[in-house]
């Protein structure tokens, strides 16, 4: 509104009246101020981006500095030592995490992929809408609530903490993640591919499973890996399902150790050696998570060329 006014006010008449001159000056000042505000706010978004990335860099820095010192071959091969004894490792916790996450995947992957297939193939229906909504709601539930669920279902009736209960809790966390990833990846498969298969006389189910699902598979694997990475770091639901274990155990019906649980126990303990172990455990955990994140990002980008956003 002010730009045309200023253009009219400036040239043309050799002797503008005082009123007009004041108006012109005010307009110029307004424009200048608006430009300054714009530049300032743009700068602030740069600052916000800088501040938002700092915590991650800080955390990584401290993890490497504190964790690397306590990380040796022992860490991966031996079980925890009693307080006061130096050394020891988290071999049992690493294996425990593998067991629990394996159980979780056995539950979460088939259900998630199946549900994702359903959502992608029945896009517009009311049921699909409802399931998608509920899947999102499930995804938003605190993980500790899923721990209570698994505890009530699988620990309380048997009077026994178990790896199975932990796996179930984590599996329930995986389901909405895998569902969402599967649905998204399948909807990226060109419709012409499906139509070509159908035109060649493939039944619908074989088209879905051998053509569409196979095409989307790398993306789905990526999504599954992200889900695995996410639950591998979950602690809260394991507190009252897998419970933790200082000793070597791979039995699925017994309490089992897990890397995040062990980190928690050691971090809140009063012993310096345990703190060092906690840092080492956290470094291992974050290395796993980061490797999966980075790999999945590059796989997805190479595959679909869409970047990641």
């Amino acid at each position: 509104m002010s730009a045309p006014a200023s253009r009219r006010a400036r040239p043309r008449r050799p002797h503008p009246s005082g009123h007009q001159r004041a108006f012109a000056e005010r307009t110029v000042r307004t424009i200048a101020r608006r430009r300054v505000v714009s530049a300032l706010m743009m700068t602030l978004t740069y600052v916000a981006a800088a501040i938002a990335t700092l915590p991650l860099l800080f955390i990584l820095f401290h993890l490497v500095r504190e964790g690397a010192a306590a990380l040796g071959p022992d860490f991966f091969t031996s079980t925890p030592r009693p307080v006061g004894e130096a050394g020891g490792g988290m071999a049992n916790a690493i294996v425990g995490t593998l067991v629990v996450v394996g159980i979780a995947s056995a539950v979460g992957l088939p259900v998630g992929v199946g549900a994702g297939l359903y959502l992608a193939e029945n896009r517009g229906t009311r049921l699909a809408w409802t399931v998608r909504f509920l899947s999102d709601v499930l995804n938003g539930l605190p993980s500790i609530v899923l721990g209570i669920f698994a505890w009530d279902l699988l620990v309380r009736p048997f009077g026994q903490f178990s790896a199975i209960a932990g796996g179930m809790a984590l599996g329930a966390i995986m389901i909405p993640l895998v569902t969402r990833a599967t649905e998204e990846m399948i909807s990226l498969v060109p419709g012409s591919l499906r139509e070509a298969a159908l035109a060649l006389g493939y039944p619908r189910w074989r088209t879905s499973l051998t053509i569409v699902l196979r095409t989307a598979l790398p993306g789905i694997v990526t999504g599954a890996l992200v889900a695995v990475a996410r639950v591998a770091g979950e602690t809260a639901p394991l507190l009252f399902t897998a419970f933790g274990n200082q000793f070597w155990s791979t039995s699925v019906t017994q309490p089992i150790a897990a890397l995040p649980l062990q980190i928690f126990t050691y971090a809140i303990s009063p012993y310096d050696e345990w703190h060092a172990q906690a840092w080492a455990g956290a470094l291992v955990l974050i290395a796993i998570v980061l490797v999966i994140s980075v790999v999945s990002r590059f796989v997805t980008r190479a595959r679909f060329g869409t970047g990641s956003d």
Binding site: L117, I144, L239, L290, S293
Partner: protein, 331 residues
């Protein structure tokens, strides 16, 4: 039902009889079995939610029946005498979450605007990647970092600075001794943790704002910031609010990191320097030392409360985000 759902995206295959009838019959069986199977997996999700609701409510039921409404309003938590009121934990949950959003929202929206509007292309991917990675860091790692890095820094530098240098110690919000583990620490850790969620949703919503909206604003002579502020943000408003509420849902239920830095004390205090409790940290911290069935059930009732709280918050958030994703109606 099967017929209706089968005709989703692809034209229906011919399923008339005649010469091809026999082969088609086999295919139709396969199709039906396949549809039923994936329908079953899809229905698993609502069933799971119902089962979770049932389990969480039944686990907390004895305590809820015993204490009724006073479970939510009483601040007595006395395991020895069997009296349980979760008011401090509910208060702590709300305060730490709102504090987190207060800190994280401007940053997250700023980052989202930066990434969707201003960032030079060489900077966009790396920054987006780093911010997304924040969401991938496990909660327990934030907690560890919180205990050994953030809390000491707060105790030695930030808290004295706020209380003495800025003279905020006279207000009730920054009074009391600076222990370190506190509501403030919990709020800060939570802020870092919810930032990527809020920023991811906001970025998505901003990208969904049509180009024409921006071009129209620029054509009217708006500066780039005025374009964002007057044309883009109002258009995306309900989606951004949805993202913030989604972040709120995350913050309310976050357990490990909060448990490790909030100090775990049943205490109602206006001061951000005071230790507190959240519903989630209450469960996590006291579960292993629960003394009897009623104590255990009271912890589970805290879980029930948390469940209902996050359910409502999430439903609202999803609805708001979808409003934008579907595009504005009649605007």
């Amino acid at each position: 039902m099967t017929e209706a759902t089968l005709g989703g995206e692809v034209p229906a295959a011919p399923r008339s009889g005649g010469a091809a009838g026999a082969r088609m019959g086999g295919a139709a069986f396969g199709d039906r079995a396949y549809q039923l199977a994936i329908l079953g997996f899809a229905l698993f999700i609502p069933l799971l939610l119902v089962a979770i609701a049932g389990a969480v409510v039944s686990a907390g039921w004895p305590a809820l029946r015993e204490f009724g409404g006073s479970f939510l309003t009483s601040s007595r938590w006395d395991a020895v005498n069997g009296e349980f009121g979760a008011a401090p934990a509910i208060f702590g949950t709300l305060v730490s979450s709102f504090l987190a959003l207060l800190i994280a929202t401007p940053l997250a929206v700023g980052v989202a605007i930066f990434l969707s509007e201003f960032a030079p292309s060489w900077l966009r991917q790396p920054v987006a990647f780093l911010v997304d990675l924040l969401a991938a860091v496990p909660s327990v790692v934030y907690g560890l970092w919180g205990i050994f890095v953030l809390v000491p820094v707060l105790r030695e530098h930030v808290m004295p600075f706020l209380a003495d240098t800025l003279k905020l110690g006279r207000t009730p919000f920054f009074s009391g001794p600076a222990y370190g583990p506190s509501m403030l620490a919990a709020g800060l850790v939570l802020a870092i943790m919810v930032l990527p969620y809020v920023s991811a949703v906001t970025r998505e919503v901003l990208l969904a704002v049509p180009r024409s909206q921006r071009e129209a604003a620029l054509a009217l002579g708006a500066t780039r910031w005025e374009m964002i502020w007057d044309a883009v943000l109002p258009y995306a408003r309900s989606g951004i609010v949805g993202g913030i509420i989604l972040g709120l849902g995350r913050a309310l239920g976050e357990t490990m990191a909060v448990t490790m830095v909030i100090g775990n004390r049943h205490e109602l205090s206006a001061s951000l320097f005071a230790p507190g409790y959240t519903l989630a940290s209450l469960i996590a911290n006291e579960f292993s030392e629960a003394t009897g069935d009623l104590h255990l059930s009271a912890l589970m009732a805290a879980g029930t409360t948390l469940f209902v709280l996050t359910l409502i918050v999430n439903a609202i958030a999803r609805w708001l985000v979808w409003q934008v994703a579907r595009g504005p109606r009649g605007r």
